[in-house]
């Protein structure tokens, strides 16, 4: 079969089984768009800004486990996508980005809409390619998908100069079934001896903790993690990225750890003597002050990326490999082992944890006459039966979502953890809804974040992707305001906007339903009404407490045992706003 470059690209996507490509046209990709016009197998989703194309594709990948695909033009198309690419990179999300480039003969001449896309994206992709010969196009695409989806996943960009897709140049097309690269051989199974050492250490622990992260979700190992944890009867905590890797409603789950983790999770980490870290990368939001991190613990770390191991925290038993096969082996060894976890040690450990749980660190004022953001998330949880896909933006609302929506399943919690990108939530919700048209998809956001990609309301209408937008409108960049309250004596420098749009009218202008909710007693009804409107996008503008803060909080430079808690659980917090 002889095809031109544009048709080759589209055919590669078909051969990869790609359902959707999220993109935006422009000069250097017009040949590719013409090839897209000639078929309807691969559906193109026209976003309203290239950043959103990357976020939607990224969220599609997070929800399905399949790589997301993005198509953008050269120059501004590519630079607009960079924030979205970096977002995917920081959270290790498999994604393939095709960017147009000026024709190869004029590269380097400051041609119209030329930027060095390969250079600009180099630090925020797993790998990138510049195609120099149309005969290499299919193999390069195969490599891109292979690299993006194996080992530690990540975005891979393919930069395609316009002459590579010239409709008059046709070359034989063959999509490789398999590919191997001498320079890239990700490790799969872990070292047997190390796994044995790890199991011995785990079984003789007195105060064990399991700390799992995004690697469990990415590596489809939630079943194995759950089995191992329940086999041992040990407490488990998840990172923000790892939520849903273990059922949050199970009694062994002590909540999220880290800066806004629960009191019990952080205290248990601090006091633990053996920690099993599974697909988590000891991020600074998790560890707090490194010198005070887990002072009594021996650490076992399973990670597919050797560079994640002993990067910030020195570990005692490193295991390089995919979480799934490594956990399977550990389960076998534990079942066969004569040593069993010490019942009495475990009992007193759970007792201690129970006393930390009794602090009820997530309690908040339920009698308030203004809407508490936590209450909205709790009600959302109930109305959706805990089964919704929840995307979020970045800020306080993101933390409330993580703390009060209990994820029992993986791939339901879709947020930007590593880069913390405001603007992620709405396009992400659209990406998820397209993947699962029957599912409830909610985007928990704030009045500042939502305005960063608000234009995507238009995309949601065009592609019939009805999502529910839960705007926790505190009239502040709440997360910024909170830091300013704690660290800058409440000097709220630029953390609010003098003009906030009428979101109800805005939603209506985009062809959707808008709702304004101002009283706690209206929250439940509004949510029920919104979710009953199955095929409409509904923008729910909840006017929430302006002064609410996220607790617990480990402030910068503090250790896990040094948490700021809500002043007195259950009583309203009395704070003056200047």
């Amino acid at each position: 079969m002889e095809l031109s470059g544009g048709h080759i690209l589209v055919q590669c996507l078909k051969d990869e089984g790609v359902e959707f490509v999220f993109g935006y046209p422009g000069g250097s990709v017009l040949h590719i768009y013409d090839a897209i016009f000639h078929q309807d197998e691969v559906k193109h989703i026209l976003v309203r800004h290239e950043q959103a194309a990357a976020h939607a594709a990224d969220a599609y990948a997070r929800a399905t486990g399949k790589p997301g695909v993005v198509l953008v033009t050269s120059g501004p198309g590519a630079t607009n996508a960079v924030t979205g690419i970096a977002t995917a990179y920081m959270d290790s999300i498999p994604m393939v980005i095709i960017s147009g480039q000026v024709p190869s003969p004029v590269i380097g001449s400051d041609a119209f809409q030329e930027v060095d896309t390969v250079g600009i994206t180099r630090p925020c992709v797993k790998h990138n390619f510049l195609v120099k010969d149309v005969n290499d196009l299919a193999e390069t695409m195969k490599k891109a998908f292979y690299v993006a989806t194996t080992g530690r996943p990540g975005p891979v960009l393919v930069d395609v100069p316009k002459d590579m897709t010239d409709p008059n140049i046709k070359v034989p097309y063959k999509y490789p079934k398999k590919i191997s690269m001498r320079s890239y051989n990700p490790v799969v199974s872990g070292h047997k001896g190390q796994i044995k050492r790890a199991v011995d250490m785990l079984l003789t622990a007195q105060r064990p903790m399991i700390y799992s992260g995004g690697g469990v979700i990415l590596g489809e190992a939630h079943k194995e993690l759950t089995e191992l944890t329940q086999l041992l009867g040990y407490p488990i905590t998840n990172t923000l990225m790892g939520l849903g890797g273990y059922p949050a409603t199970d009694k062994q789950f002590v909540g999220m750890l880290g800066m806004h983790g629960t009191y019990e999770a952080n205290m248990a980490m601090h006091e633990s003597d053996v920690i099993l870290a599974v697909g988590a990368r000891f991020d600074d939001r998790v560890t707090g002050k490194l010198a005070e991190f887990c002072p009594y613990a021996k650490i076992i770390h399973i990670d597919v990326d050797p560079a994640s191991i002993s990067k910030t925290v020195k570990v005692d038993v490193p295991i390089v490999g995919e979480v799934k096969p490594v956990l399977e082996q550990m389960i076998e060894l534990i079942k066969d082992s004569k040593t069993k976890p010490s019942k009495s040690a475990l009992e007193s450990w759970w007792q201690l944890i129970g006393s930390w749980r009794d602090v009820h660190c997530l309690d908040y004022d339920r009698t308030s006459s203004v809407i508490k953001p936590q209450y909205v998330v709790e009600q959302l949880y109930q109305v959706t039966g805990g089964e919704a896909f929840v995307t979020s933006d970045v800020g306080q609302h993101q933390m409330y979502a993580a703390q009060y929506y209990h994820f029992d399943k993986p791939r339901r919690w879709i947020n930007s953890g590593g880069l913390g990108t405001m603007g992620f939530g709405l396009p992400a919700a659209i990406g998820v809804k397209l993947a699962f048209p029957e599912a409830n998809v909610a985007c928990i956001t704030g009045e500042a974040s939502i305005q960063m990609c608000i234009q995507e309301l238009s995309t949601a209408l065009q592609y019939n992707a009805p999502v529910k937008i839960i705007n926790l409108n505190n009239r502040y960049m709440g997360m910024v305001r909170q830091w300013q309250e704690f660290s800058y004596q409440s000097r709220y420098s630029q953390s609010y906007m003098d003009t906030i749009p009428d979101f109800v009218k805005l939603a209506e202008a985009y062809g959707h339903v808008g709702m304004l909710i101002e009283k706690p007693e209206d929250v439940r009804g509004a949510l029920e009404e919104a979710f009953a409107l199955k095929d409409r996008t509904v923008f729910l503008d909840f006017i929430t407490d302006r002064t609410e803060n996220v607790y617990p909080m480990i402030e910068a430079g503090k250790g896990h045992h040094d948490m700021k808690l809500r002043v007195a659980p259950g009583t309203p917090v009395d704070r003056e706003l200047s």
């Binding site: 250079g119 630090p123 690299v147 001498r182 320079s183 990326d305 560079a307 990067k311 020195k314």
Partner: protein
């Protein structure tokens, strides 16, 4: 501690900038970097001199290995190895100093490869410290120009860094 990292890397455009970019992005120190194709033209060999604590060197080698274009690497400092650097030096000479300069070059086993009435160009290879010593043997102002390749290295014994 000083480390010499020897890298086999795909001979692709952009491969060098991936390595250089990694060092600047992560704030690692780079003392020198040499690169040239090998006998297999699809591969380049890169020699990189860096320094840092054991933890930093461990991260550097892991991060380098993570680059998709890197095929293999070794830290030469971990075992017996040979290290050489090439230097070209242009030295001012006068009727009075010519003999002295020539003697110095002989002591250091260098070669004079260009001569004018007022200058020599000297070629010298050796360990970097030897080249330093040669330079320090001259008075300030007598050296017109120094060009150094940066060290390259190879391990001792029959084992080698190849595919």
């Amino acid at each position: 501690m000083r480390h010499i990292i020897s890298i086999l890397i795909e001979n692709e455009s952009g491969a060098l900038s991936r390595v250089a970019g990694l060092f600047s992005a992560r704030g690692y120190n780079i003392e020198s970097l040499t690169v040239a194709p090998t006998e297999d033209s699809s591969l380049s060999r890169m020699t990189l001199v860096t320094s840092g604590s054991d933890e930093i060197i461990e991260q550097i080698t892991k991060q380098l290995n993570k680059l998709i274009d890197v095929v293999k690497l070794i830290d030469l400092a971990e075992s017996a190895h040979i290290e050489r650097e090439l230097m070209l030096v242009k030295i001012k000479t006068s009727h009075d100093t010519r003999e002295e300069v020539k003697r110095m070059v002989d002591i250091f086993r260098g070669k004079i490869i260009d001569v004018t009435a007022n200058s020599y160009v000297v070629e010298m290879t050796g360990q970097s410290s030897k080249l330093d010593a040669f330079i320090h043997g001259f008075e300030e102002g007598s050296i017109i120009e120094v060009v150094r390749s940066g060290p390259t290295g190879i391990s001792r014994g029959e084992k080698g860094l190849h595919l």
